[in-house]
Symmetry: none
Subunit: 226 residues, 4 copies
DNA sequence: CATGAATGAGTTTTCATTCAT
DNA sequence: TATGAATGAAAACTCATTCAT
């Protein structure tokens, strides 16, 4: 993956981090995710991140040499998680099963890591200043690869001729929307993905819409609900 | 609509603004939309907005008494545009035509006002600090009303039994995605909605996916392309 | 009197001011007195003075060319009133009567123009940047003259040998205190000079203290109260 | 005492301040007293206070989070000193001795801390925005208590029936006048309390006036001068 | 005589970052 | 590792004053 990791501590003598270093870096990244996703890069402050991570500003800057490097490390940290589900789309599997599984996984990510979703959305919306290279290389490669998988399914007559890239965009858009716009969703419905019932109805509705839209029967005959 | 307008200049004697005031306010709002959507609230600076609007910082603050009031006025300004399309969904029309028209309009908005879309997304993602009340009242009322329209179509057997709210969310998510994530889209496809071809293929793909997903045949028999 | 008057309007063609000019200058001075005495020179703003005077900032600056010139005019305006009572101290009168009358007048001024008193106090406390020359010339001459009057009374055996200057300072200090510290007085007693009863008891107490302190019987035999 | 202290630095873990903190806070308060008493709250600038205290503006704001908090801390700092003398008025002592001592102490404070006196006067004259609560509680309690002492002396026939509150006000007014109006006093007499001779003559004159005014012989028989 | 529009200098405050220990 | 102390650059906002009409 194109390098996006934050700098190492000032004295990089040891490659292997000590126990306490490992723990503090992790505390910082967690705190940073909260702050950056809530306030954006400019709105977040090093001081609040440090406070949230339970350490002094100075100490935080011992681990990450600048605000930007914390931000980059945070992005790098979530990007991995973010792109994993698509990788699992299996060309040998059944199109409906594969796409349904993908959608389900994406919604699960939105439910479990809404802050990561918002951080990512924020970064991209502001022009992807940090991760544009990653998008242009790694993500592009992945999308091309999986588009081919879908194209193959289409050519094999196993689903309708939907544009694979638009299909992928639609899945991203829909699943991430439930994380990114959760405040709006809660304002309109009184609930959001953190509620298991709403989570389940979301998975059902989105999967059904997209799969049927792609000419795949869903839910399958005799398949209850999900 | 729940009030969200920015303050008027110092002497509000006249409701109708003078020519020059009208023009300057409009210049400011345009500049502010650019800045806020690109940098977020905290990242934007009054100075850059003023420069972009072609006036001094002080003069800008003569028209809007604070950064926040510029932001609110900008939000109020776009909100109207933003909510209009859904209002046009006609209970007496044909479900497929109505939904297709709605999707097309939303994508057109995304193409024409991507910055407005990103500003709105940003606001909601940060917890909708300014517009939450509007979401909870006006938008909620509108969504409930249009959900009922869809429900009626379903009960009349004119479309599949998709959850109306999820259907609306899916349309929002998908259409806005093309504005909000245009940098990512451009990184992956080399183009975006500003390209008429891509615009058209997006409308076709999204409409087809969602309408077919809702059990509505699309494109109709003998309907070429769109 | 050493010159301290504010500048005349921009076009000084006419020495005699028009009716409306006269009225506006007077409105401004009144408003300025309120503002300056409440907030001090730096804390007062031209805008608030203008608002209080019921005109636009620009118009106010048509009458007085700068904030400082308003301030000077205000000071000049009150100084006359401020120094008048001492001038009336009559060498031919009875010491007790004269001093009692002076004290009564000073307290009346404090009651009627507490803002003027505070403005004056403020100016002096900040080093009398504007009126120092007046103090050094006009006021000094007056004090010397009236000190001599008191000295004469002392030499004539009509009162005790109190230092005339300290006597004058004591009268100033005491009488002005009731205006300048009225907030503290109200916090401690629940009332102040604006209450006729308190006004009267103040006159009685202060006069009695100072006159008896100077060896003058007060209140006189058979003189009820005052 | 009703709370009026300024905030502590960022990490308030330790109640006891470090050596360097103690020193810097004290430098700041001293500089602030000078600035605020000379220019008033609005006229003073954080930058000048910092310069006077020999540190950068930013560092000053590391110790006090805002201009207002410096101001409050400064007020709190002087208030203690300010109210102490009255507390020493001893009901068991001789009225003349006690009052003379009180007057002497107050004039000494005026001589030693004229800036504190002016700061206090300024605060009260502007409506006591910060210390009104202190006046209404602590100071009021103290004044009531000491008024009773004086009343007892009067009832015991040890002094004339002067209103105790007015007596206290007169003492405050007179003694503080020599600090607050020292510029005027210097303009009129060519000297002020900083001159030992003038200091002494002031003590003599004021004490004599007030004590004799209250029916107390002063100076006592055979008591030379003071 | 009056006002709306515009501005530049100054002021408070925030904040990432550096320094010393 | 850890932190308190210090700082400079930038940002929002204020306000007296000027300009044009």
């Amino acid at each position: 993956m194109t390098c996006l990791s934050g700098q190492s501590p000032a004295s990089p003598k040891q490659v292997g981090l000590s126990r306490i270093q490992e723990k503090n870096r992790s505390l910082i990244l967690e705190a940073a995710l909260g702050e950056f996703s809530k306030k954006g890069f400019s709105g977040a402050t090093v001081e609040r991140i440090a406070a949230e991570a339970g350490m002094s500003k100075s100490n935080l800057l011992y681990y990450f040499s600048s605000k930007e490097s914390i931000y980059n490390a945070t992005l790098a940290h979530i990007l991995e998680i973010w792109l994993t589900p698509l990788k699992t789309l299996d060309p040998l599997g059944d199109p409906a099963d594969e796409l349904a599984a993908y959608i389900r996984q994406k919604i699960e990510l939105s439910a479990e890591f809404p802050e990561a979703s918002r951080l990512f959305a924020n970064e991209v919306m502001q022009g992807a200043p940090q991760i544009l290279p990653v998008l242009q290389t790694d993500l592009k490669r992945l999308v091309l690869e999986k588009s081919q998988v879908i194209k193959d399914w289409i050519e094999a007559g196993r689903m309708d001729a939907v544009d694979p890239v638009h299909l992928i965009f639609t899945i991203w858009a829909t699943t991430q929307h439930y994380a990114d716009f959760s405040v709006q969703i809660r304002a309109l419905t009184g609930t959001d993905l953190s509620d298991p019932d709403f989570h389940q109805s979301t998975v059902a509705a989105v999967t059904s819409l997209i799969l049927n839209g792609a000419g795949l029967k869903w839910p399958r005959e005799g398949d209850p609900g999900a």
